[in-house]
């Protein structure tokens, strides 16, 4: 087990492994999304309070979950990278960041879309909304820092430090806003009126959440392959690979 771990933590082997995994995760993500959307738009009944607008939930909630979860995964990789100076973990967190930012943006966007019919405003300065916005800012800050640093080693470490500090901040933001009056919470309870409807919705959301997971994994692996190639381009195995390809 531990031998396999070390073997796959070398970029050369991981490159191959990731290459095999990408299509699997990619296709599953696609199929699950189709199923999820089918449930969302054809099976799930219209909510008698919110009308059709509530169907945004099937994208909104998985996206919101994913954006937070991916941040934590990045923090995990950064901690490993700083502790053991493993090249691959820095690459992983670099590969994950754009996807995390994308989901953070999606949750903001869909939430705003939903807010207009529900609350009569695109945006309110509610606790959850604000913390989602801050999370998005954190993602942007991290990517901006990477973009500003040309030196790869410096960029990796500086980015990792920032991610970790931000991670301490995420729960703080989350709890601190409890002291604020909030608008967001109430809505989620009104969904669970009839149990049958709730269970179908739950399934739809679950399927969409898993699809988001698989999508994230596939995209991150795809991106990390690119990063590996770029960083190791002076090594023998990459040179051979590129020769074989062309």
């Amino acid at each position: 087990m531990s031998i396999a771990w070390f073997k796959y933590s070398s970029p050369a082997t991981f490159y191959g492994l990731a290459g095999k995994l990408v299509p699997w995760f990619g296709w599953s993500a696609g199929i699950l999304t189709l199923i999820g959307l089918y449930i969302a738009f054809f099976l799930a009944p219209t909510d008698f309070q919110q009308g059709e607008a509530y169907r945004v939930i099937f994208i909104h909630v998985p996206a919101a979950w994913m954006s937070m979860f991916i941040y934590m995964v990045m923090a995990f990789w950064s901690a490993i990278g700083l502790a053991w100076n493993t090249r691959l973990s820095f690459m992983m967190s670099r590969a994950l960041a754009p996807t995390g930012a994308l989901f953070a943006f999606l949750s903001l966007w869909t939430g705003a879309f939903w807010g207009k019919p529900m609350w009569g405003a695109w945006w309110v300065w509610d606790a959850r909304l604000t913390s989602a916005l801050i999370l998005f800012f954190l993602y942007v800050g991290i990517m901006a820092l990477w973009a500003a640093i040309d030196d790869r080693r410096r960029g990796d470490k500086a980015g990792a430090l920032l991610i970790l500090v931000g991670a301490i901040n995420v729960p703080i933001i989350y709890f601190s806003v409890k002291w604020w009056n909030t608008l967001h919470q109430g809505a989620s309870i009104s969904m669970t009126k009839a149990p049958s409807m709730a269970s179908l919705m739950l399934w739809g959301m679950l399927v969409m959440a898993i699809a988001a997971w698989f999508y994230s994994i596939a995209v991150a692996l795809y991106r990390v392959r690119g990063i590996i190639l770029e960083r190791e381009r002076q090594t023998e195995w990459v040179k051979k690979l590129l020769e074989a390809r062309s």
């Binding site: 695109w122 945006w123 901006a144």
Partner: protein
């Protein structure tokens, strides 16, 4: 190895487009440099967004209050975003010696200051205009007020860049330049702020906004005529 080029080309001197061409060179140069610093101007826009978003956190979430303070907050944030980027207007060129080279150019120095101020506006001001509608929505401003806000910023942000270039030239190479700059320039910004935010308030309250906007435009014309010359003199003094 080196071939001495023609040192003095009389045909070039009589070229009446030369000032315009040089102005364009200066603007292009600064824009190229900004493009090289990938993400640099983007971050400046984010600063704007963040400052605006910070206020509701401090003030509280009541929509009516936010609607009232919204235009003021956006204007102050625009002002701060321009202030924050201004110290770098000449500072980097000064440090690496290329500002000296620009002063040694045969073209007049006023074109350098004008060009750099315009480039600053293109890089910092224009994207800001594109973001503003979104922020207006965040503060739940009505559509007309958002329109007026954008127009007031369209007229107002070049003023900020032009006046700012004076401050940047004056404080060049001084220790604590950034803060000193703020101190010098903020009072000059006040008219722009009052007319600009006033126009939006007028639109919100239905009083009308065209008087405010024309005053703002007059102020822009005035700045455009005066600021580059003052900045050029300040630059020469600072670099001695």
């Amino acid at each position: 190895m080196t071939a001495l080029a023609t040192h003095y080309d009389p045909t070039r001197e009589n070229d009446s487009f030369s000032p315009l061409r040089f102005l364009w060179t200066v603007i292009r140069r600064d824009m190229l440099l900004a493009a090289r610093r990938r993400g640099d101007w983007l971050t400046s826009q984010f600063f704007f967004v963040m400052v605006v978003s910070m206020f509701p956190l401090g003030i509280g979430p009541e929509p009516e209050v936010l609607r009232m303070v919204g235009p003021g907050v956006v204007w102050v944030a625009a002002l701060l975003a321009s202030l924050l980027s201004l110290p770098r207007l000449f500072a980097e060129d000064y440090r690496d010696g290329s500002l000296e080279q620009m002063l040694l150019s045969p073209e007049p120095t006023v074109l350098v200051t004008l060009g750099k101020a315009l480039a600053h506006w293109c890089i910092y001001g224009i994207p800001l205009l594109l973001i503003t509608p979104l922020l207006g929505v965040q503060f739940s401003l009505p559509a007309e007020a958002i329109g007026v806000l954008v127009i007031s910023l369209l007229i107002g942000t070049p003023i900020l860049s032009l006046l700012g270039s004076i401050g940047a030239a004056l404080t060049l190479g001084l220790r604590g330049g950034g803060v000193l700059l703020t101190l010098l320039i903020l009072p000059l910004y006040v008219p722009a702020l009052i007319f600009g935010a006033g126009a939006v308030d007028g639109a919100l309250s239905g009083i009308g906004y065209s008087a405010h906007l024309s005053l703002l435009a007059a102020f822009l014309v005035l700045t455009l005529m005066v600021a580059p010359w003052v900045a050029a003199s300040a630059l020469k003094v600072s670099i001695e």
